[in-house]
Amino acid sequence: MNAKLDRTAARTADRNASPGSDTLWKWLTFSPAFAFMLLFSALPLINLVATSFQNVTWTGGQADHSAAGLSHYLALPADVLFRAGLVNTIIFAFVAVGGQAVLGLALALFTTKVTRGRTIYRAIFILPILIPGIVIGAIWKLMLNFDFGLVNKLLGAIAIAPHDWLGGSDTALLSVIAVDIWHWTPFCFLLFLAGLESLPQDVFEAANMDGANAWQEFIYVTLPLMIPTIVVTCAFRLVLAFKVFDEVYLLTGGGPGTSTEVISFTLYQRFFTEDQLGYGSAMSVAVIFIVSLLLVFAISAGRRFEGAAK
C-alpha cells in the first residue's frame, strides 16, 4: 500500500514538474478525432451556411456563385410549402411521439408483468422496427389502398364504407402518423423495457407493503422513476420524428395538397428537384436551428417534469 502511494506521488510530482509535455500529449492523441469531427461535421455545416448566402447558377458546365445576402432567409416565411411543412412536422412529431411513448410504455409494462412467453412477446413487439422503411411504405400503401386495401376490406366486412385514407385531406396526415407509430413504437418499447427492468425492486416491495394497488403503484412509483428514461426516449424520438421523410415520400408525396407536407420533403423539393442550392441551404440552416430549439425545449421541459415528480 505504501509502495502504491509512493508511486502515485511520484507520478504526480512528474506531472507537476512538466505540465507542458502532458498537455501536448493530450492534444496529439485528441487531434485525429478532432480533425475527423472538423472534416465531417463542422466543414460541411460551414459550407452549408456559406451557400445559404449565395445564388448558384450554371453556365458552360461550371458553377457561378453570386452573393444573395439575406434574401433566401427573408423568402422563407412567404414559402407556402415551408410554412405548411413546418406546421405539419410539429403536429406529426408531437402526436406520433406521444402515441409511441404511450403504446411503448404500455407494451413494456405488459411484458414485465407476464410470467411466461416474455421472449416471444418481445420478439413480436419489435418486428416493425426491423422492417426497412421502403418495405413499410409498400406494405401500408397497399393496406390503405382505396380499392383493394386490407383496411377498407375489413371495414367493409362490418358495413363501413371505404375511405380514401391517404388521398383525403382530412385523414392523410393521421394515416401517416399511424404508420409512424406502428413503425417506431418498438423503439420506445425497447428503451422503456430496459428502464423498467433496471428499476430498484425494494421500492415496489415497500409500496406493496403499504397496500398500493396496481394503478397507485404505476402513478406514484413506476412513472416517477421512469421519467429520466421517458424524457431521453421522447427527446431522441422527437428529433428523429422531425426529420421524417421516407414515410411521407412513399405514402403520399406530400399531398393531397399540402396536408402531409413535412419540412424534410419541402427541403428535398427545393434543394434537389428544383435545384435551388442557395435557397435550399438557407432552408436547411433554418431547420437545423428549429430542431436544436426543439431539443433544448424538450430536455428542459423534461427536467422540469423530473424535478416536479421528485
Partner: protein, 446 residues
C-alpha cells in the same frame, strides 16, 4: 470420286479472308468504346432496352444502362455533369429538364462532336427541341443539333372500344364528347368513366392537365417562342380548363383522383376499371400484355380532345438523348455512333416491335400500322404535329413544382380553381421575374 485438294497457301489465304470478313461492319456500325446511358424506369423502358440489345447484337458495341426512378435519374444526371469527369455518356433527358442541360452547357452538341452527322430526314424533331442556339438561347433548326429524340411521348386518349361498341358511342373529338361518353360508361366501382391523375409529383398532374389547357386554346405564357413569359394561366380559358378537369373527375371519375399517379391510372386501365384515361402513348404495350392486362385487344386510341375549331393540344413529355460534356472524346464519338444507328428506320422498327414509340416517320408509313397490334400509330401520327413543348427554359422544374401543388390542391378540394390559378400565376410570375425573363401578369380571376 474427285477430291478437292487445298494446299497450305490456299488454306492460310482462306482463313485470313474469313477472319477479315468477320471484322467488316456496316458503315453505320463502327467499332467504338463502350458507353453508359443513364435512364429512368418508365413504361417504355423495356422497348428501349430491347432496342439497345439489338444495337449490341448488330454492331458488337457495348452499352450499359443505368436505370433509375424518374426523379432519381435527374439527380444522377446532375451529379454526373457537374463533376470533373462524368459517369454517364448519354443522358436520357425528360422534357421537364432538358433545357437545364442545354442552358447549363452540360451536353455537347452532336454537330460539335461530328460535324458531318446527318439527321435522318424522316426523324421527328419534336417541336425543334433537339436544337439549341447558345448565343440566342432559342430552340430552332438554325441552332446546333444538341440531342437525339429517344421517345416522342405524347398523352393519348385510351378508351374501351368494346364498351363503345356496346353503347353505340362515337369516337371522342371534343371535350363535350369526352364528358358525355365518360358519363355514359361511368358505373362505379366496377368501371369509372374516366381515371385521371391528380397527385403531386415530379411532373404528374400538370402533365395531364396540359392537353385540357392547350386543347381549349389556353396556355401558361403569352408567347414563349418570342420570349414573352407574361402569364396567361389565370384567364377565363385556364379557369374553364381546370373547372372541366375537376368536374370530369367528380361526375365521372375516380373518387381518389387527387391521389392518383401514373401507375394507378395504368393499373385502372389494365384491370378494366377505367373506360377512359389520358396516358402517355408509351404505355400502349401494357394494354395488350396478357400477363398484365384483362383488356387485351379492347383498348383503342385517339388524340386528346379539343375545343371545336381548335386542334388538340397534347404536351410533349418526350425524352431526348444528350451527350455529356465531361466525358472523353472517344466515348462522345461512341455515343454519336449509337445515335447514328438509333435514328434509322430499321432501328425504329425494332423499337416499335419491342413496344416502343418510333421516332421515324417512315415507320408510320409502313404497312405494319395496319396491324391490329399497332392500331395506336395512326392516331399518334395525327396528334404529333400538334404537340406542344411547354417548357423551353432551364427553370422549368421550379414552375412545374408550383403547378403540381396548385393543381393538386384544387383537385383535392383544398382551394377553389380560381384561387389555385391566381396563386399559381403569382408564383410563376415571381419565378420568371427572379430569373430575369420578360414577364408580367393580368388581373386576377374574380
Amino acid at each position: 470420286m474427285n477430291q478437292i485438294r487445298i494446299n497450305r497457301r490456299q488454306a492460310i489465304a482462306g482463313i485470313g479472308a474469313t477472319a477479315l470478313a468477320s471484322t467488316i461492319r456496316p458503315v453505320w456500325a463502327q467499332s467504338v468504346a463502350p458507353i453508359t446511358i443513364v435512364i429512368n424506369q418508365s413504361p417504355w423502358f423495356d422497348s428501349f432496352s430491347k432496342t439497345v440489345q439489338a444495337y449490341e447484337a448488330e454492331t458488337g458495341n457495348k452499352v450499359e444502362l443505368d436505370v433509375n426512378p424518374f426523379a432519381g435519374s435527374l439527380e444522377k444526371q446532375r451529379n454526373s455533369v457537374r463533376a470533373a469527369a462524368g459517369t454517364y455518356d448519354i443522358l436520357i433527358m425528360n422534357s421537364g429538364w432538358f433545357a437545364e442541360m442545354y442552358f447549363g452547357g452540360f451536353v455537347t452538341a452532336i454537330s460539335d462532336i461530328d460535324p458531318g452527322f446527318q439527321l435522318d430526314p424522316d426523324l421527328f424533331t419534336l417541336a425543334n427541341s433537339i436544337y439549341f442556339d447558345p448565343a440566342s438561347k432559342t430552340m430552332a433548326p438554325s441552332g446546333k443539333l444538341m440531342s437525339m429524340p429517344i421517345q416522342p411521348n405524347l398523352p393519348m386518349l385510351y378508351y374501351r372500344g368494346d364498351l363503345y361498341k356496346e353503347k353505340g358511342l362515337k369516337v371522342v373529338e371534343t371535350f363535350d364528347d369526352l364528358f358525355n361518353n365518360a358519363k355514359a360508361l361511368n358505373s362505379p366501382p366496377d368501371v369509372y368513366g374516366i381515371v385521371q391523375r391528380g397527385a403531386r409529383g415530379a411532373y404528374t398532374v400538370s402533365y395531364d392537365f396540359f392537353p385540357y389547357l392547350f386543347g381549349m386554346g389556353g396556355g401558361i405564357y403569352k408567347d414563349p417562342v418570342a420570349g414573352d413569359y407574361s402569364l396567361t394561366l389565370n384567364n377565363d380559358v385556364g379557369r374553364e380548363a381546370l373547372d372541366y378537369y375537376i368536374r370530369l373527375a367528380k361526375d365521372a371519375g375516380h373518387p381518389k383522383t387527387a391521389a392518383m399517379d401514373q401507375a394507378e391510372v395504368i393499373q385502372a386501365l389494365v384491370t378494366g376499371h377505367a373506360a377512359h384515361a389520358s396516358v402517355v402513348i408509351a404505355a400502349w404495350s401494357q394494354m395488350d400484355d396478357p400477363e398484365k392486362s384483362i383488356v387485351v385487344d379492347k383498348m383503342e386510341f385517339a388524340p386528346t380532345p379539343h375545343a371545336p375549331g381548335l386542334p388538340p393540344g397534347p404536351a410533349l413529355g418526350h425524352w431526348l438523348g444528350g451527350i455529356s460534356h465531361n466525358v472523353p472524346d472517344e466515348r462522345k464519338r461512341a455515343a454519336v455512333e449509337f445515335f447514328r444507328w438509333f435514328q434509322r428506320p430499321e432501328a425504329q422498327m425494332v423499337n416499335a416491335k419491342a413496344g416502343g414509340i418510333p421516332l421515324n416517320a417512315a415507320v408510320y408509313n409502313d404497312p405494319m400500322t395496319e396491324e391490329r397490334q399497332f392500331r395506336w400509330m395512326k392516331p399518334l401520327a395525327a396528334a404529333l404535329p400538334h404537340a406542344v413543348n411547354p417548357f423551353a427554359f432551364p427553370e422549368a422544374s421550379e414552375v412545374i413544382s408550383v403547378l403540381e401543388l396548385g393543381l393538386n390542391r384544387s383537385i383535392a378540394g383544398e382551394i377553389s380553381s380560381v384561387d389555385a390559378l391566381n396563386s399559381m400565376s403569382d408564383e410563376i410570375e415571381a419565378i420568371m421575374a427572379k430569373h430575369a425573363y420578360k414577364t408580367g401578369k393580368g388581373a386576377p380571376l374574380g
